[in-house]
Every structure is written in structure tokens, then in C-alpha cells.
Amino acid sequence: MTMVTNNGLVYLIALPLFGAIALLLLGRRADKWGHLLATAMSAGSFAVGLFQLSEMLGRAAESRPVTQKLFTWISVGSFNVDASLLLDQLSICFVLLITGVGTLIHIYSISYMSHDPDRRRFFAYLNLFIAAMLLLVLGDSYLNLYVGWEGVGLASYLLIGFWNQKPAYATASKKAFIMNRIGDMGLSFAIMIAFASLGTVSFSGVKEHSHHASEATMTAIGIMLLVAAVGKSAQFPLQAWLGDAMAGPTPVSALIHAATMVTAGVYLIVRSNFVFDAAPNAQLLVVIVGAITLMFGALVGTAKDDIKKALAASTMSQIGYMILASGLGPAGYAFAIMHLLTHGFFKAGMFLGAGSVMHGMNDEVNMRRYGGLRKFMPITFITFGLGYLAIIGVPPFAGFYSKDMIIETALNAGGAKGIILGSVTLLGAAITAFYMTRVMILTFTSPKRWDDNQHPHESPILMWLPMVILSIGSVISGFLLYRGEALKHWLEPLFEEHGEHTELLPPIVVSGLALLMVAIGVAFAVIKYQLSEVDAVAPENVTEFTRVARRDLLQDDINEALFMRPGQAITSALVKIDQNVIDGAVHGIGKMALGSGSFLRKSQTGFVRSYAVLILIGAAALIAAIWVVTT
């Protein structure tokens, strides 16, 4: 099958990349208009994406993917890697999400960052991120994807540490970078295994081999890909960096750490569907990771008082849903992507809402110091509220459709697996409803708990307009993608056929159950926070569980005890060995030379006559020796 070539794909990446390079090279000269250029580049990329979508819609399902070869990258013997782009039904979803939400967040940032002296640098990094993320989803081989994968990691690092004058923020960016490295190593191992045992690293090549390669190979590749996904998408056990990543400016949290970059792991798994279909054990591991993370994030979310960290925990949990769905095989891939898209809308919208609240509250992030903001920020309240209804899964908002499909697919996974996964996802839905209601009540509807010197106010139009657009998306996107199984049919040509699926419970019962769980979660939150007094300072006399959840279920303590301290012990042991053994040997040799030198120095008396005597004796001894030898 030869694919259609389309030379327009490169502009998707080239525009934001040009913006990033121009802004970084021009420096202060671009301060006045840099943000406008960056926004225009992002919007231009979005326009190219829309154009590509319209072209794609005009073709039959099987001829929709298009490619563009940029140049031959590596050509060694029989091994060939081209720098090629591939735009198919899956990548177009991501392209539109990245550039669409990205452009809205660019617009938002113009206002949000207007007082920052480094706004130009911020926009340059944002454009760099967009370019790298597009390369990630457009690469046609694991190697090309890897370039984008590292690129978004770099952009994420630069943006988390954007205010690196604060040591804590700089540390947060380093933490994110280092934890991501572990995942990146998994991806590079997966590429190496694929190259060593299959001889190819392109998606189509690996897909061809997946049918007849040994299951062990596929399992190894699958597990390594999962490690990569776990690192990038902040899944258990590499989840600890996401909470700290909220140190970055809020638009960054919305774009990178909620809507796009952290979902790259889901993309990787769905893109590698042929690997996981051929490796059931790796697939099971994906489901387990997803299930653990979805509970983990939800539980952490119930205890966080920092609005951004609560949303970050929620992101982690929602991505857990997506990973779980992508581990359910062909039945779940489309729903993973669907939840990813709807989540991109409502979570980005809510993060922008949180940014708007912080903007109006002098950068206060503690929800216990909010309260009653509904009156002061009506637009933020409504847009945030729509996102809230979407995430907890109230019909007909977006999250209802996408989450409901995941719960249903999980329940129908068959046997004990189905029952366990179904209950986990249902319980997760209840906890999600609880903690999101808590955020909502603490921020907007409970009595005010802020000081009188705060003057909360609505944000300017450049900030609320993107929020409004995203909230529209969080209302309608789910229905649009769900209607007539639109997304499922759209993505179907990419996945293997899957057999008959069993139905444990009829869909209507599942939806009912899910809504019941949501209602329970909301009710608990209303009783606990709306109908009773909320302290402005986090109470100390709390249960052991709350204490642990506030510390992110001890994730940092465990990492520190298991990895950091032994690492430090090894390092200090190495330093001791270096100082005593290696330095000792070097210093010993030096001292030896010094000692023998100062001993020999004594023969140099400085008296010419003693030298003359020595020369005489030497000459005499030499002659004597010659005489003895020759006779």
C-alpha cells in the first residue's frame, strides 16, 4: 500500500518552530511583538491542521493517511530511517487538540503574562513546545517520535522552571526532568529492542513484524513502551513529578501538564496498539498501571488545598482512566482517545479558570483562602463550572460520554478482570465527583475566607475568551465524538478487528450506576464543605489517611527512602573511595618523588670543587671498569 504524499505537513511543525527560533534569536528586540508572532504561528499551524482535516475528510477511509518525507536521516546498510511525517486519523486528532488548545492558551497567556519581563521567552518556549509535540505525534517511526518526545521534555523543563529565580521552582523542573529521563530510557530501550530483533523502528515495519515475531519480543517492547508512557504521563510509579510541575505558570500547567504533553503516553500506547495486541502480558500491565494511578490521583486530589495541585492530581487520575482504556485492547483505544480529547478541553479550561482565580486573588493558590468568588468572577465561575460538570460526568457534558464508555468497556473486559476494573473505574468516578465538588465549593460557593485587602475581580477578555471557548468544547465535544460512534469509526481503520465483546451489564445500567456514584461523591462533598464550616487554615487534627494523602500518599518519602538516600550513600561512598584510595595513590606517588628528590638534593652542595671530585671519581671508576672488563 503506497500512501499519499502531502508536502504541506511540514508547515504544521515549521511555523511554531520558526516562531520559537525567531523569538529566541532576536532577544529583547522582539519583546514588543514577540507574543503576537508566537500566537500567529500557533494559529497558523492550527489553520494548516484544519485544512488537512478537510482534505482527509474528502477521501475514503483507507486512503486517509498521508506522509511526507523530509530527508534521509540514517542510511546504514539495510537500515534506513527517513525523517518522515505521517498524518493519519489518530495524529490529526492530536494535531487539532495541540494547535487548537495551544492557540487558545497563547491568547490567554498574552494577558496572563503581560506583567512578566520575560514574556517573549515564555512565548518562545510555548512555540517550541508546540513544534516538538507536533513532531511527536507526526513522526512515522519510533525514532522520529523520540525526537519530539525529548523536545517536549525539554520544553516542559524550561517552562516548569520558567521562574527559576525561586529555588523551589528550579528544583521542581529538575525533578520533572529527571523522572522523565527514566521514562525516556524505557523508550530508547524499546527502540533498541525493536531494531535488534525486528530490524526496523518505523510504525508500519513493527506492525508488519508484530504478527510473526515472538511474544517475548513483543512483551519486552511493550513493557519498555509502558515505562516510557508512565514517565511522560505521570503514571504510577513515576507520578511524583506532576504535582511539583505546577510550579510553572498556569497556562503551562493547562497546556503541557493537563491537555497535551502528559497525554503523550496514551498516544504512544494507542499508536503501538499492534505491539500490545501481540503481548497480552504487557497489556495487562498497562491496565494495572492505569487502575492504580486512577485511584492514586483521585485519593491525592481529595486532600490537596492548593488548587493547582488538586487539579494536577485530577489530571493524573484522568490519565489513569485513559491508560486503563488503552490497555483494554481494540475495544478501548478509541475511548482512550475520546477521553483524552474531552479531557483536553475541560481540564485545560479548568486550569485556565484556576489561573484566572489566581490572577484575581494576588496569586493565592490555597483554596482555604478562597470562597464566595462566584459573585466576583461570574465568567470564571460559569466556565469552570461547565468544566466541572464535564469532568465529574454529568450528562450531557463531555466527560459523561467519554468516561462512561471507559467504565462500560472496563466492565465488559470479561471475568474477574472486568469486575475489578469496572469497580475501580466506578469508585474513581465517585472520588472524582467528591474532590472536584470540593474544589468548586471551596473556591466559588462557600463563604468568603480571604482577607479584606484582597480585591477579587474578573479577568480581562483575552483571558476569559479562551476559557469560554474551552468550556463550549467541554459541553459539546463529548456528544459530537460519541454521536453515531463518530470517533470510533473514524479511528477504526487503524486498529485490529476485535472479536465479540461480552456484555456484563446493559449500557443504561452502567450509566445509571456511574451517575449514582457521582451523586454519592457530590453529596459527600456538599455535606462536608458546603453545609459545614471550612477552616481558613488546614486543620491539624485529621485522620491518618488525610495526613498521608496531603503528603501525596508518601510518594516523595518512598522515592527518597528507596532511591535518593541509597543513591546519596553510594555517592558519598564513592567520594570517600576517591579521596582515600585514588587520591591517596596519586598523592603517595607525588610524595615519593618529592621525598626522593629532597634526599638527592643533599648531594648538590653548591661547591664547585666537590663536583670536580665527584667527576674525577666517576671518571676514574669508569676507566677502572673498562680496564677490568677488557683485561
Binding site: T605, V608, R609
Partner: protein, 99 residues
């Protein structure tokens, strides 16, 4: 007369020169002793030239004289300079390089 006598003479002259270099402190005297040793060597060379009936060694003697002349020029210049700066021609005093 046996040619050996020349060799004995040169041995005696060399010994005198060597002892002089070792025991005397005055730089000029040490210098003269060095010249004595050089000339003792020249005498030996010439003697062997006569014994062997070849001219090779005589040529070497000329070389030695040229080198000795150069050495005298440089050496005397150094001694004069040291004397001017230190007001002494004793070679035991000139041990600054040791420190």
C-alpha cells in the same frame, strides 16, 4: 729515549692539574689547572700519534687547543664578572644556585 716517558710526564701533569682543581680555591688557579689537564691530554695524543705513526691524534690535539682557547675566553670573562660583583675570586663563595 723511550716514548713511554712522555706518557709518564703527561700522567704526572694531569694528576697535578686534577689535584689543583680539587684543592685550590682561587678561580684563576683552578682555571690554570684545567688548562694543565687539557695540555696533558694533548701531550698524550701527540705521543700516541708518534707511536702509531699516524696523524689523526695530532689533528685532535689541534681541536683541543681551539676548544681550550674558547673556554679560556668565556671562563675568564665569567671569573672577571664574578670578581667584580662579589669582590672575591674564591669558587667556594659562588654557590648561589644551590639556594
Amino acid at each position: 729515549m723511550s716514548l713511554d716517558n712522555y706518557l709518564y710526564l703527561s700522567a704526572i701533569l694531569f694528576t697535578i692539574g686534577a689535584v689543583g682543581v680539587v684543592v685550590r680555591r682561587n678561580a684563576i688557579v683552578v682555571f690554570m689547572c684545567v688548562e694543565l689537564m687539557l695540555n696533558a691530554a694533548n701531550l698524550t695524543l701527540v705521543t700516541f700519534s708518534r707511536i702509531n705513526g699516524t696523524l689523526d691524534a695530532q689533528v685532535i690535539a689541534f681541536f683541543t687547543m681551539v676548544v681550550a682557547a674558547c673556554e679560556v675566553v668565556v671562563g675568564l670573562a665569567i671569573i672577571v664578572t664574578i670578581y667584580r660583583s662579589r669582590r672575591s675570586a674564591s669558587i667556594d663563595d659562588a654557590s648561589l644556585l644551590k639556594r
